[in-house]
């Protein structure tokens, strides 16, 4: 089974190289035999993932496949039980989430987690936290350096808020704005940390078709800005529409990877999503 997988991957890779569709980019994020267990349940099993610079990579799979777990291990919320996570060649083992953010991986959540009783602008300003450094005493005394930095934070936040198109809601509490806007605000907050890699957990869930399309355009736009995106997604339209590279996982293992069209027609992927055809089984 594993051998078959490997064979298939090599076929896909060579095909792709031949076609010259995909120039070989620098790998930004890599997981090496990543394993995560919850008690007896192996949520992620020897999982290898590669994310190339400047691309939108997608991680797809049926419910419970372990996609979010991979995200949580990469962003430091869970500790891996085995294997490595390499970001720009650096091992992230033992790093706390706030340290990982500082290295340049920002994330959003599947169920939106905003600071709901703070204004939209404050939410985005909070994203700037890891890029600023003034301490307690300079804040209490409002030293010139602190004022300058605060102004800088506001300016950057302002730009990010305009980028996600929520400037007019700046003074509104985050909980009061529309659902679609909340999603964009969360992305804005993640962008405010000036990340190299943006990790989005089902960004289009709960959005209507129009909003999904806007989101796709937005993502295509922001990767031009020397950004890499890793995406978990259920909506196949979104995945096929914007991904440069797709990895499919099921029951904690990688079952396929390749260009969107290839993965889409891969029998194993179809099987994982729709179940085995019973006649074929016999």
């Amino acid at each position: 089974m594993a051998k078959e997988n490997n064979n298939m991957e090599t076929i896909i890779r060579t095909k792709q190289e031949n076609e010259g569709k995909n120039k070989i980019n620098k790998v930004v994020l890599q997981t090496d035999k990543l394993t995560k267990k919850f008690g007896g349940l192996i949520a992620v099993n020897n999982f290898d993932l590669k994310v190339s610079q400047g691309e939108i990579s997608s991680l797809i799979g049926p419910n419970g496949a372990g996609k979010t777990t991979v995200f949580n291990v990469v962003t430091g919320i869970y500790k891996a039980d085995g294997g490595k996570v390499l970001f720009k060649g650096e091992d992230l083992a033992g790093k706390k989430p706030h340290q990982i953010i500082k290295k340049g991986i920002a994330r959003t959540f599947q169920n939106i987690r905003l600071f709901s009783n703070m204004t939209c602008l404050e939410n985005v300003m909070a994203g700037q936290h890891c890029r600023s450094k003034e301490g307690t005493w300079s804040s209490v005394l409002q030293t010139p350096g602190q004022k300058k930095e605060e102004l800088e934070i506001k300016k950057n936040a302002e730009n990010r808020l305009k980028q996600v198109g929520l400037w007019k809601w700046r003074d509104e509490l985050a909980k009061n704005i529309a659902y679609g806007n909340q999603r964009m605000l969360e992305i804005g907050r993640a962008l405010a940390t000036n990340p190299d890699l943006l990790v989005l957990d089902e960004p289009s869930s709960g959005l209507n078709d129009k909003e999904s399309e806007d989101l796709m355009d937005f993502l295509k736009e922001i990767i031009k800005d020397n950004l890499t995106i890793l995406l978990i997604e259920h909506d196949m339209n979104v995945v096929m529409g914007i991904s440069h590279w797709v990895t499919v996982m099921d029951e904690g293992k990688k079952i396929a990877e390749g260009l969107p069209e290839e993965v889409y027609s891969n029998p194993q992927v179809i099987e994982a999503y729709l179940g085995k055809d019973e006649e074929e089984e016999e």
Partner: protein, 332 residues
């Protein structure tokens, strides 16, 4: 947009006038009222300072701390013991008490800081009680057991100016409360204040946004305890005696009420809460036996009709006005 701006300006002018008016009132008050009420207002000041200190922990970060009086006790006893045994002037002991209370907070809170909600609450109750019982048991014969430590000096700046009567104490405490308010307002509007609020709103999101949750929680505890230590220092020098029963669990609950009544994370709210807790019993002294009853009913009614407190913190435009109004106009 223009109309909006005018309204905002009017609001802020009104606000400034209000602040100035209240300040003038506070300055001339001691000449109008008698010494008894000056003392009452002094204790209002002490409660305000304690409320502000607890507001950092409970209001800004949302950590349930029901042992806050323990920190004040550390500050008060540091002052009392160092002053009576070594004769160190009170005014020098002011920062010393703050540092010792802060250090104590850092020491005891480091191992428990990851606890959430009610678990942390229980541990802090235990901590406050341990402090009180330890002081009561007179370790090494330095805390004087249940009699406490007495004969503490008045605060004095050299030998020129001694804070020795009610009026001077009144100005002394409100000067410190005033400075504290300025410092805390500045802190609220800085990245530190925002980080605290983020942790209160959603801890995991805060951590994933790049905020070192553990560090900022500890910082809140240390700063809150330091301020409580300052309050302890002033309290000790005013009463000239400290004893363990001043720092009971009931007092910690009162502080909790100050922050809840006023509005979590709201500085004017905390002042109102402190006024309610400290002035209410004096105003209703005639109904002494029904005092707690009225107080309880008032609390229940408040929680039903104003769950966010009397003066909750309003977030929004006015905090960022100067820079952003301008930018907003450019963008329509």
């Amino acid at each position: 947009m223009k109309l909006n701006k005018n309204v905002n300006q009017k609001n802020s002018i009104f606000k400034n006038w209000l602040v100035i008016l209240v300040a003038i009132l506070f300055i001339i008050l001691p000449f109008i009222i008698n010494a008894y009420w000056v003392d009452v207002l002094f204790f209002f000041g002490v409660y305000a300072l304690l409320g502000l200190s607890l507001n950092i922990v409970l209001g800004e970060v949302g950590l349930f701390d029901l042992g806050h009086m323990g920190f004040m006790a550390i500050g008060a006893y540091t002052t009392a013991i160092l002053n009576t045994t070594f004769g160190i002037p009170i005014i020098i002991l002011l920062p010393v008490s703050a540092i010792s209370a802060g250090a104590f907070a850092w020491l005891v809170c480091s191992p428990i800081i990851h606890l959430r909600g009610d678990y942390l609450c229980i541990v802090t109750i235990g901590m406050g009680e341990i402090v009180r019982l330890t002081l009561n048991n007179n370790p090494f014969g330095i805390t004087g057991g249940s009699n406490g430590v007495y004969g503490i000096d008045f605060p004095s700046f050299g030998s020129i100016f001694v804070v020795d009567n009610s009026t001077k104490f009144y100005y002394y405490i409100w000067l410190i409360v005033g400075l504290t308010i300025i410092g805390l307002v500045n802190l609220q509007r800085s990245r530190i204040g925002r980080a605290w609020n983020c942790i209160r709103e959603d801890e995991i999101a805060a951590e994933s946004t790049g905020i070192d949750v553990r560090y900022y929680k500890l910082l809140a505890f240390v700063l809150g305890a330091g301020l409580a230590g300052v309050a302890g220092n002033i309290y000790a020098s005013k009463l000239m005696i400290v004893s363990p029963e001043s720092f009971s669990f009931m007092e910690s609950c009162m502080l909790f009420c100050i922050v809840l009544i006023g509005g979590m994370g709201s500085i004017p709210g905390v002042l109102i809460g402190a006024a309610a807790i400290s002035l209410f019993p004096e105003v209703f002294r005639a109904f002494a036996q029904y005092r707690m009853l009225i107080f309880g009913v008032a609390m229940v009614i408040m929680m039903i009709f104003r769950p966010g407190g009397i003066w909750p913190r309003k977030r929004g435009a006015f905090e960022f006005k100067p820079l952003l109004m301008k930018a907003g106009e450019e963008n329509g």
